[in-house]
């Protein structure tokens, strides 16, 4: 196998380029962790950062962050003890029930989450639970359509971090709620396809509480000098197992106290969006 030295800037760039190409071509790539020697978590975030900058240079803007690997089960599967994060861009959001073009997606799977919208910056040193509680303006139900540019989702933590935390697109519900109206610990979640439950879960499944995930992210971003800001959207992490989706699927998730959210997947890449 042709191994490269990852610490070289050109190797980081090469890996970033391969991920970008896979996203556009649909030819998904072998795991980075098997092909780039010395690729560690820091280097993986550097690869992610390359592609973030490429998107910014293409005229997009960051509208928030997603948190991944928030389930103890998934962490155990990947042999890690920490979550990860990725960037959310302005063109990744779809409205409740708005058809999602299949061509936008790469090996899509869907998971239900609590999304938070911040009303204040979290720019202080080491934000606390109190800072986070005060900064959150409202919560809303969300379906995140994750994707992977790595063939067959054969990912380790390195691969998913480099690949923008396996982000894809997301759909937000349309009934925002204030935190005082919610039980973020025990809120039940059910995701249905044609009325059949395909995933169930609860708030606690996300790092013990979705707020814990936001505190983790806020600290991480503050430390990196890219603090979370008022208006930012945070997808806090799955409340139950993720489920693969097919063209034509309609997936509805309900989070108790937060209402429902529906993701509609177009039948095929050539489908016209019906008015």
């Amino acid at each position: 196998m042709n191994r490269e030295i990852i610490m070289k800037p050109e190797s980081l760039q090469l890996a970033a380029q391969q991920l970008r190409d896979a996203a556009t071509s649909g030819d998904f790539i072998a795991p980075l962790r098997e092909r780039f020697e010395g690729l560690d978590i820091e280097a993986a975030y550097a690869i992610q950062q390359h592609n973030t900058e490429a998107r910014l240079a293409a005229g997009h803007r960051i509208v928030g962050r997603k948190i991944g690997l928030t389930s103890r089960v998934v962490q155990a599967q990947l042999g890690v003890d920490q979550p990860d994060y990725g960037a959310l861009f302005d063109d990744m959001g779809y409205g409740n029930g708005e058809p999602i073009p299949w061509a936008r997606l790469q090996q899509p799977k869907v998971e239900a989450e609590v999304a938070f919208v911040l009303g204040q910056d979290l720019a202080m040193v080491n934000p606390t639970q109190v800072d986070v509680l005060r900064a959150i303006d409202h919560a809303v139900a969300a379906l995140e359509v994750v994707g992977s540019r790595i063939a067959d989702w054969n990912i380790g933590i390195i691969d998913t971090i480099a690949d923008n935390a396996s982000s894809g697109v997301y759909v937000l519900g349309s009934t925002p709620r204030r935190l005082e109206d919610l039980d973020l610990d025990l809120c039940g979640m059910v995701m249905e396809r044609r009325g059949e439950p395909v995933s169930v879960g609860v708030g606690r499944a996300c790092l013990g509480n979705p707020l814990n995930a936001v505190v983790w992210l806020a600290r991480k971003m503050a430390k990196l000098g890219q603090p979370l800001k008022a208006g930012d959207l945070v997808l806090s992490g799955a409340l139950g197992p993720m489920v693969p989706v097919q063209p034509g699927d309609v997936i509805e998730a309900r989070i108790n106290g937060l209402g429902s959210v529906q993701a509609v997947f177009q039948l095929s890449a050539n489908d016209e969006v019906s008015a």
Binding site: D183, D185, L186, C187, G188, M189, V190, E192, G195, E196, P197, V200, G201, V202, G203, R204, A205, G208, G240, R254, N256
Partner: protein, 255 residues
């Protein structure tokens, strides 16, 4: 003595002495009617000893479990007074073969239910709802059974603990829940896992109980079905279930 009666006595004795037995019907040759007849005859033994019937439990209340067992309906078992376990009490593993526990939603009926009920009628018959933990303990060696086996064995039902009875007018179709062991959360889920909506389980319970000639009555408890996978019980555990809006309950496990 009929084969049904022999099987019934064997299972009753296995449960009473907490000893595993061989499967009755590993090839699944028995009809479900025969299997339920064995269950009824086996429970009869308990009633003769002075226990009372207090309700029923529903099993295989998810599509995944039904297809795994090759059936397209739920199964059910009978709850007797001897199966009640006080909340926060201590159970002894010596009383069981190889027990597991799973979280449930319990219905308390305020009214009799006939065979054919709509979900609206079922709703109005509910006096109260509560979080509950069911102890399931197959009497078969290695917890291995065919569909007729498990039905004959009272759908593995063995004991149940019920928490505080709460208001049935809340929306309980998607209550989050967490089952923990010594404070460590091991299984999480939602009441939505019970047939997509627990009321469907109560409607099925009314139908199956009436068909068996033992219609549901006011005062009966119905355990609607397991909301997560079951977990093995071990000595030293404190098992706790927390359910959204309905509170929590628990029990202790010793040798």
């Amino acid at each position: 003595m009929s084969t049904i009666q022999q099987h019934a006595l064997r299972l009753d004795e296995a449960a009473r002495s907490a000893t595993a037995v061989e499967q009755l019907d590993p090839e699944s040759r028995m009809s479900l009617e025969e299997a339920y007849a064995i269950q009824m005859a086996s429970i009869q033994q308990r009633l003769r000893r002075g226990e009372a019937r207090v309700g029923m439990k529903m099993g295989f209340t998810s599509r995944a479990k039904m297809s795994q067992m090759g059936i397209d309906d739920v199964i059910w078992g009978r709850l007797t007074s001897g199966m009640r376990i006080e909340e926060n009490s201590t159970i002894s593993l010596a009383s069981y073969v190889h027990p597991r526990v799973e979280p449930e939603l319990a219905f308390l009926l305020g009214r009799d239910l006939p065979e054919q009920v709509t979900s609206a009628e079922a709703l109005t018959a509910i006096e109260a709802i509560a979080p509950a933990l069911e102890i399931i303990d197959s009497r078969y060696r290695d917890f291995k059974f065919s569909l007729p086996d498990v039905i004959a064995d009272n759908a593995s039902s063995t004991g149940f603990v019920v928490g505080n009875w709460g208001d049935p007018r809340i929306d309980y179709t998607n209550l989050g829940l967490a089952m923990s062991f010594n404070g460590q959360t091991r299984h999480v889920g939602s009441t939505a896992a019970i047939l997509g909506n627990p009321i469907r389980s109560l409607v099925a319970a009314a139908r199956l109980a009436a068909q068996a000639g033992e219609p549901l009555r006011a005062g009966d408890i119905v355990l609607a079905g397991g909301a997560t996978a079951a977990e093995w019980l071990e000595p030293g555990q404190y098992v706790r279930l927390e359910m959204q809006q309905l509170g929590s309950l628990g029990f202790h496990v010793e040798e």
